[in-house]
């Protein structure tokens, strides 16, 4: 379906604005496509893990072939300091963040949306309490809060990702709240209320489904980028996924010992993977934002 942008009357810069949009459209499509490619790669990782399609056993040690450079026969991306195949570890490392990341997104989006509706629709008191809660959560640097939780509970990565999700709740809350405040003054919501539609229908269908869907999907893709960053950072610091299970973070960490000697690949390969994945999810969010949000005509 072709997109149509409604032009505000009386804008003098119509022509140049239109040209900008056409240009932006191609760029957005590229971003979305690139982001989707990352998603496909994630799926491929699980397929490879389940159907045993990995090029090598990711935990098989081969001391005859330590720190092999990329392109060595049989090891496309080379091997790490214990001779383990980097490509296999890289592919399996995707699983270190993906499901925990989904958990973090779910924790951020579902309660966040519910609280946002409460704050947007509820009376002043509910809004004040929720705003106070949001400010409280925002007062903690996320990594410091996680270190606190690590010190207290020695948690696994799923527990940590629940905390990451909780720290993202305020962002979802304010997004939904602002949307509702804005929409409540619109005619179609007033009309729906005047027609006597139950509030449940108005909130779930008219507001959340028709007007918050796009923003929430975008928040989710950005949330995945944040989850990757968090998981790799924690694994780098030694609190996340533990050796010998591969994670991009602990791969960078274990390869870093050899980096200063000039063996770049063991840590650069996972670092570039982190870069491309985070960039992919961010650009997917950006592209979706431009494509979906501008389409919505209020």
């Amino acid at each position: 379906m072709r997109k149509r942008y409604v032009q505000a009357p009386g804008r003098t810069d119509e022509a140049s604005g239109l040209r900008f949009f056409r240009k932006a459209e191609a760029v957005d499509l590229f971003f979305v496509g690139y982001g989707l490619l990352i998603v496909v790669l994630v799926a491929a990782s699980y397929a490879a893990g389940v159907f045993r399609l990995l090029p090598h056993d990711p935990e098989a040690v081969n001391l005859d072939l330590m720190l092999a450079p990329p392109g060595t026969a049989g090891h496309l991306l080379g091997t790490d300091f214990m001779g383990r195949d980097l490509l296999a570890r890289l592919i399996l490392g995707i699983q270190a963040y993906f499901l925990p990341g989904l958990l973090a997104i779910a924790v951020a989006i579902v309660p966040g949306t519910a609280l946002g509706v409460l704050a947007g629709y509820g009376a002043g008191r509910a809004d004040r309490v929720i705003t106070w809660f949001s400010n409280l959560v925002d007062s903690f640097p996320r990594l410091v809060l996680i270190l606190l939780v690590v010190a207290a509970f020695k948690p696994d990565i799923y527990f940590i990702m629940v905390v990451v999700g909780l720290t993202n709740v305020p962002a979802t809350v304010s997004l939904v709240k602002v949307k509702i405040r804005f929409l409540r003054e619109k005619n179609f919501i007033e009309a729906a209320e005047g027609l006597g539609l139950p509030r449940r229908t108005i909130v779930l269908k008219h507001i959340l489904w028709h007007h918050c869907r796009a923003s929430l999907i975008i928040r989710a893709t950005l949330g995945m980028g944040e989850a990757i960053l968090m998981e790799t950072s924690l694994s780098y610091l030694g609190f996340g996924v533990q050796e010998p299970t591969p994670s991009w973070g602990n791969m960078v960490q274990s390869g870093a010992n050899y980096f200063l000697q000039g063996n770049f690949w063991p840590s650069t390969v996972p670092a570039l993977a982190i870069l491309l994945a985070i960039l992919g999810f961010h650009l997917l969010g950006d592209g979706l934002n431009n494509l979906l949000e501008r389409k919505a005509v209020y």
Partner: protein
């Protein structure tokens, strides 16, 4: 214009300070709550493998003065903090406050320096992109900033160290080394600041926010009028399009930057609070991690209070409601 909502600036400020104090009280309750719920207490860690868990351990606990009920523990911890007593580290036995002030300055230097680096790079790119739109200069620059921001900061650190060691032949000599090595030493101190400023994801967010806000302001009618009159567009757009978005984004990114210091200090062996927090989490050193969490929250709240003050100074007529709408 509705003048009913206008309050004296002093009253708004007093309110902001009160809110900040109340939030910090909440922070202390959360910190205490998390560690109170933790399985095992620090003393069992301290005594681990040294003493049986039975009666002698209980005696040591009482000798060290552990109160039993949770509210007594919380209140005595809170009262101690007000007097500047954050307790003593379980591992080293040193007072936490002294340790924190010793390393806190290093972290403050790292944080403020990296913010300056971020702004120095981000502001020109964002302003150019806001004024000229997407073109063949601004697009690659913005993309490059996005790429650098998405690089894992721990890896970027190693790359920079490697470049300095092997390419430029500059060595991070041990601090306090004699003679002419001070030049390279000081240069090496700049590395973590630059790495934290460029990496860590803050750069792209500052660019995005400032570009959008400035772009929005530049398309306002009053800017068109200013341009038509031949008045300075910059003067008219400065407050709304530059000052407010910059303070907003910097204040909202302080938690993120403080989180980044944990990693950067790890990479560069920078003796700061982030490394201390990492060590404390490893050792389950409760008093240290509690103190750091509270102090970090104080940093965050101070930044956000500063942002509110700038906002109110720019627009004294701002009622509470508009302040909140801007923050959302």
């Amino acid at each position: 214009m509705n003048l009913k909502g206008v309050k004296p600036v002093a009253r708004i400020l007093a309110r902001e300070v009160a809110v900040t104090a109340f939030l910090l009280l909440g922070v202390s309750a959360v910190v205490f709550g998390i560690l109170y719920l933790a399985p095992g207490d620090p003393f069992s860690l301290l005594l681990e493998g040294q003493m049986s868990a039975g009666a002698p351990g209980q005696g040591v606990r009482e000798a060290l003065g552990v109160p039993k009920a949770w509210h007594v523990q919380y209140l005595s911890w809170l009262a101690g903090m007000f007097r500047g007593n954050f307790g003593a580290s379980i591992r080293t036995g040193l007072p936490v406050l002294e340790e924190m002030t010793r390393v806190g300055l290093n972290t403050l230097l790292l944080t403020l320096g990296s913010m300056a680096v971020t702004l120095l790079v981000a502001v020109p790119i964002a302003l150019y992109a806001a004024v000229r739109g997407v073109n063949r200069v601004s697009f690659p620059l913005t993309m490059a900033a996005y790429v650098v921001s998405a690089l894992p900061v721990f890896w970027l650190g190693y790359v920079v160290i490697y470049l300095f060691l092997h390419t430029f032949g500059l060595f991070p000599l041990a601090s306090g080394s004699p003679g002419g090595s001070h030049g390279t030493n000081r240069l090496f101190l700049l590395l973590p600041i630059v790495v934290l400023g460029l990496g860590n994801g803050t750069l792209s967010e500052v660019i995005r926010h400032l570009r959008e806000e400035m772009g929005r302001v530049l398309s306002e009618d009053y800017i068109r009028t200013a341009r038509a009159k031949g008045a300075s567009v910059w003067n008219h757009a400065f407050r709304e399009g530059f000052l407010i978005p910059v303070t907003e984004i910097v204040a909202s990114k302080i938690p993120f930057i403080l989180g980044g210091t944990v990693i950067v200090e790890q990479v560069f062996n920078w003796p700061g609070m982030g490394r201390m927090a990492w060590q404390a989490a490893l050792d389950r050193d409760f008093p240290v991690i509690m103190g750091i969490a509270v102090l970090a929250a104080v940093f965050v709240r101070a930044g956000s209070l500063l942002q509110r003050i700038v906002y109110i100074a720019v627009n004294p007529g701002a009622s509470r409601e508009t302040v909140e709408r801007r923050a959302a």
